[in-house]
C-alpha cells in the first residue's frame, strides 16, 4: 500500500518535476526548493505585513476602513503590499503541500529523518492559523464568515464553556478588544511560534536550504508583483452581523475545510483534521523504515581532521576528545540516531584512498553496507569487461531509477549509497590506473539529492573547492556529472553518458600514471 502510494505520488509529481527541471535546470527548479520557497514566501508576508500594520487600525470600525484605504487610496503601495501579502500566503500553502507530497513520495520522511517530518506538522497548523486570523482582521463579509465559523469550531472543543460564536451575533456584542487580541495573535503570537518551529524543523539538518536560488526568488517575486497589479486583492462588503452573507469569494487555499462545518458539523470537521494530523504524525512508523547500519569510526585511521563532521548533512558526526591515546586532539564519533547511512562522511575522509598499498583499505570512517575496500573491488569488477576506445565507468546512487537504466543499457557502473560516498581518490584511481577513460557521475543534483548535499559535496570535491580535493593530475574533461553537465537534460541517463562519451577526444591521451 505504502509503495503504491509513493509510486503514485512520484508519478503525479513527475508531471510537475520534469517540465520545471527543463525550464529552470535541476539545481534551480522550484520543485527542488519547496521548503526554502515557503520560507521566502514568509519573508514576503512579513515585509508586506509590516507595511500593512503601519496603517491598520485594530478596532471594529477602523479595521475595514483602514484596509480599504490601503487597497484603494494607496493602491500603488499599500494595495500592492496587501496583494503580495495574500498571494505569498497562498503560495506558501501550495509549496507546503507539494513539499509534504514530495517528502512522502520520495520516502525521505521515515527512519532517521522522522524529526523534520514531525516538527513540520505543527508548522502547517500555524500557517493555517496565521492565514485565518489574517482574513479575520479585514472585517469584511469574508471575515464575518471566518469569525463565526472559526468560533463554532473552537466552541466544539470541550474545554470551553461560554460560546465564543455568541460574540459575533450582533455588532453590539463585538468589542475592539477582540480585534486587539486577533492582531496580537496574527502579528506577534503565531509568528513567534512559526519562527521557532522553522528553526526546530531544520534543527537536525546541516547547511539547511533556507533561501532558494536568487533567480528563483526574483522570478517568483516579479510574478507575484505582476499578479498584484493585474488582479489586486480586495475586500468584500463590510461585515454586518445583522445580515448573513449568502455567497462569497472564498480563499480555497486556507478555507477549504470551512464549508464542511456547515455541511457536516464542527465535531466531524475536527475529527477529520485531527485524524489527518494523527496519520501524518505516525506516518514515519507506518511501517518503520529498514535502515542500513550506520557509519563506523576506525580510530586507528582517524586523525580527527573533522572533514566528516563538516560534510555530514545531518550533523550525525561529533568531534570528541581523543580516547585511544594517539597524539591527535579529537576523534570522530557517530551519533547512530542521526546517521542516515549515506556515506558522505566516507567521501570526506582523507584516509579513504584506494592507492594505499602498505595497509588494508580501512578509512577513518566507513560504511559497513559498502566499505571502501569493497568499493575498490566493485570498481575492478565493473570495469573488467570494459573494452573499446572510450570506456566509461558510471557511479550512481543506490535505489535510484538511474541504476536500473544503466543496468538495462549494459553500462559499467558501481552503485553507492550516495554520490557523496565516493572519495575523490577513487575517481583518480579509476582514471590513472586505466580502468576506464572517463567517469560519469549519475545522480540528481541540488535539492533533489535523496540524502541532501551529496551531489553538492561531490561537485565541490571534484572541482577542487572542498577537501578532500581531486588531484590536479586528473583531467577535468574525463569526468562528467549528470546534474552539473546536463542540467536541462530530463531524459534517459544513457543519453547523457553517450553525449559524454562523444565529448571524449579520440584517441584518448595517454594518462600520466599507467597501471602500476
Amino acid at each position: 500500500m505504502l509503495t503504491f502510494l509513493q509510486k503514485a505520488g512520484r508519478t503525479g509529481l513527475g508531471v510537475l518535476e520534469r517540465p520545471l527541471a527543463k525550464a529552470f535546470g535541476q539545481t534551480e527548479s522550484p520543485f527542488n526548493h519547496l521548503g526554502s520557497l515557503t520560507i521566502f514566501f514568509c519573508w514576503i508576508v512579513l515585509i508586506s505585513g509590516i507595511w500593512l500594520l503601519i496603517f491598520f487600525r485594530t478596532s471594529v470600525s477602523g479595521a475595514f476602513e483602514s484596509v480599504e484605504y490601503l487597497t484603494h487610496e494607496q493602491w500603488y503601495l499599500g494595495g500592492i503590499m496587501r496583494s503580495l501579502h495574500r498571494y505569498a500566503s497562498d503560495g506558501a500553502i501550495v509549496t507546503i503541500l507539494l513539499h509534504v507530497c514530495k517528502e512522502f513520495s520520495f520516502d525521505t520522511y521515515r527512519g532517521k529523518r522522522w524529526f523534520s517530518w514531525i516538527t513540520g506538522t505543527p508548522l502547517v497548523w500555524l500557517v493555517f492559523a496565521l492565514g485565518i486570523t489574517g482574513y479575520w482582521l479585514v472585517w469584511d463579509e469574508l471575515a464575518q464568515y471566518v469569525a463565526i465559523t472559526s468560533a463554532e469550531l473552537i466552541d466544539r472543543i470541550p474545554i470551553f464553556t461560554d460560546s465564543m460564536a455568541a460574540n459575533f451575533l450582533t455588532d453590539a456584542a463585538l468589542s475592539d478588544r477582540f480585534f486587539t487580541l486577533m492582531a496580537f495573535l496574527h502579528l506577534i503570537g503565531l509568528p513567534i511560534f512559526l519562527v521557532f518551529g522553522i528553526w526546530l524543523h531544520v534543527f537536525r539538518l546541516s547547511s539547511p536550504g533556507i533561501n532558494p536560488p536568487r533567480r528563483l526568488m526574483a522570478g517568483t517575486l516579479l510574478a507575484m508583483l505582476v499578479l498584484s497589479l493585474i488582479f489586486p486583492a480586495e475586500s468584500q462588503d463590510k461585515a454586518n452581523l445583522a445580515l448573513a452573507p449568502q455567497s462569497m469569494e472564498l480563499d480555497w487555499f486556507y478555507l477549504h475545510a470551512y464549508p464542511l462545518v456547515q455541511i457536516w458539523s464542527p465535531g466531524l470537521v475536527w475529527l477529520l483534521l485531527v485524524g489527518i494530523t494523527a496519520l501524518i504524525v505516525i506516518a514515519p512508523w507506518l511501517p518503520r523504515q529498514k535502515t542500513m547500519q550506520h557509519a563506523i569510526v576506525n580510530l586507528d585511521n582517524c586523525n580527527g581532521c573533522q572533514r566528516c563532521a563538516d560534510d555530514c548533512p545531518y550533523s550525525a558526526i561529533q568531534m570528541s576528545p581523543r580516547s585511544d591515546g594517539l597524539k591527535f586532539e579529537t576523534q570522530a564519533v557517530v551519533v547512530p540516531d542521526l546517521c542516515v547511512s549515506c556515506g558522505i562522511c566516507v567521501g570526506a575522509c582523507p584516509t579513504a584512498s584506494p592507492f594505499r598499498s602498505r595497509s588494508a583499505l580501512i578509512p577513518g570512517i566507513d560504511l559497513p553496507a559498502l566499505p571502501a575496500a569493497a568499493l575498490k573491488e566493485k570498481i575492478k569488477a565493473a570495469t573488467s569487461a570494459l573494452t573499446g576506445d572510450k570506456r566509461i565507468l558510471s557511479f550512481t546512487c543506490g535505489g535510484s531509477s538511474l541504476a536500473d537504466q544503466l543496468r538495462v543499457a549494459g553500462e559499467a557502473f558501481v552503485e553507492v549509497a550516495c554520490m557523496g560516498q565516493i572519495p575523490p581518490p577513487f575517481i583518480d584511481y579509476v582514471l590513472s590506473r586505466n580502468f576506464a577513460d572517463g567517469v560519469f557521475l549519475a545522480a540528481c543534483g541540488g535539492s533533489a539529492c535523496h540524502y541532501r548535499l551529496g551531489t553538492e559535496r561531490t561537485q565541490q570535491r571534484i572541482e577542487r573547492k572542498r577537501d578532500p580535493r581531486l588531484r590536479k593530475r586528473v583531467d577535468d574533461w574525463r569526468i562528467a556529472a549528470a546534474w552539473r553537465d546536463f542540467p536541462e537534460h530530463t531524459g534517459r541517463v544513457i543519453d547523457q553518458i553517450n553525449a559524454f562519451r562523444k565529448s571524449l577526444p579520440e584517441p584518448i591521451p595517454v594518462e600520466q600514471e599507467v597501471a602500476a
Partner: protein, 164 residues
C-alpha cells in the same frame, strides 16, 4: 530563449493558480430566499435541591469554621429549549449544565437556516426540571428578510427571550 519562455510559463501558471483559487469558485452559503436564525444564551437553571437552613443540631455537628447556616447543593437542572416556527419544531434540545459538578450555566448556541417570510415564532424554556410546560416562553410574529440573521437571546435578569 526557450528556457526563459518555459520559466515565464511556469511563473504565469503558478500565479494564475494563486489568483484563481484565492477567490474562485464562489461559495454559496445560503439560497437567495434563506435566512439564519441564531439562538444563543448562557443561563443557570434552578438548583436541583433548594437551599435548606441547617438545624442547630446539624450545625453543632460541623467543625466551627464550617458552620454555615444555609446548605445549598450545587447541582442544577438541565435546560430544555423548544423553538417553533408556525408550529414546525425547528429546534428542541435538553442541555445539561456545564461543570464537573453540573453546577454551571447552560450554554446554547445554535444556528438554523430558514426560509425568509412571516412566521409565528414560539420559544419556550424549562429550567426547573418540572416535566410539564415551560417556565419561560415567548410568542411573537416575526418577519424574516432574505439574508437576515435573526438573533434570539435570553435575558437572565428579566427572565425573557429577546428577539432582534
Amino acid at each position: 530563449m526557450i528556457r526563459v519562455l518555459g520559466q515565464a510559463i511556469a511563473y504565469g501558471l503558478f500565479v494564475a493558480v494563486l489568483g484563481m483559487f484565492s477567490v474562485w469558485p464562489d461559495y454559496q452559503i445560503l439560497d437567495k430566499q434563506e435566512a439564519i436564525v441564531s439562538l444563543t444564551f448562557s443561563h443557570a437553571a434552578q438548583r436541583v435541591e433548594e437551599c435548606r437552613r441547617l438545624t442547630q443540631e446539624e450545625l453543632n455537628a460541623l467543625p466551627p469554621n464550617m458552620r454555615k447556616p444555609d446548605q445549598c447543593p450545587r447541582e442544577r437542572h438541565q435546560v430544555q429549549v423548544d423553538m417553533r416556527f408556525d408550529d414546525r419544531l425547528v429546534y428542541s434540545e435538553t442541555v445539561p449544565p456545564s461543570g464537573l459538578w453540573k453546577d454551571g450555566k447552560v450554554n446554547v448556541y445554535r444556528r438554523t437556516t430558514i426560509d425568509a417570510g412571516e412566521y409565528a415564532l414560539f420559544i419556550g424554556m424549562n429550567d426547573t426540571g418540572s416535566g410539564d410546560g415551560y417556565d419561560h416562553e415567548q410568542r411573537q410574529v416575526v418577519t424574516i428578510a432574505p439574508g437576515q440573521n435573526l438573533v434570539i437571546t435570553f435575558d437572565g435578569v428579566q427572565k425573557t427571550f429577546v428577539i432582534e
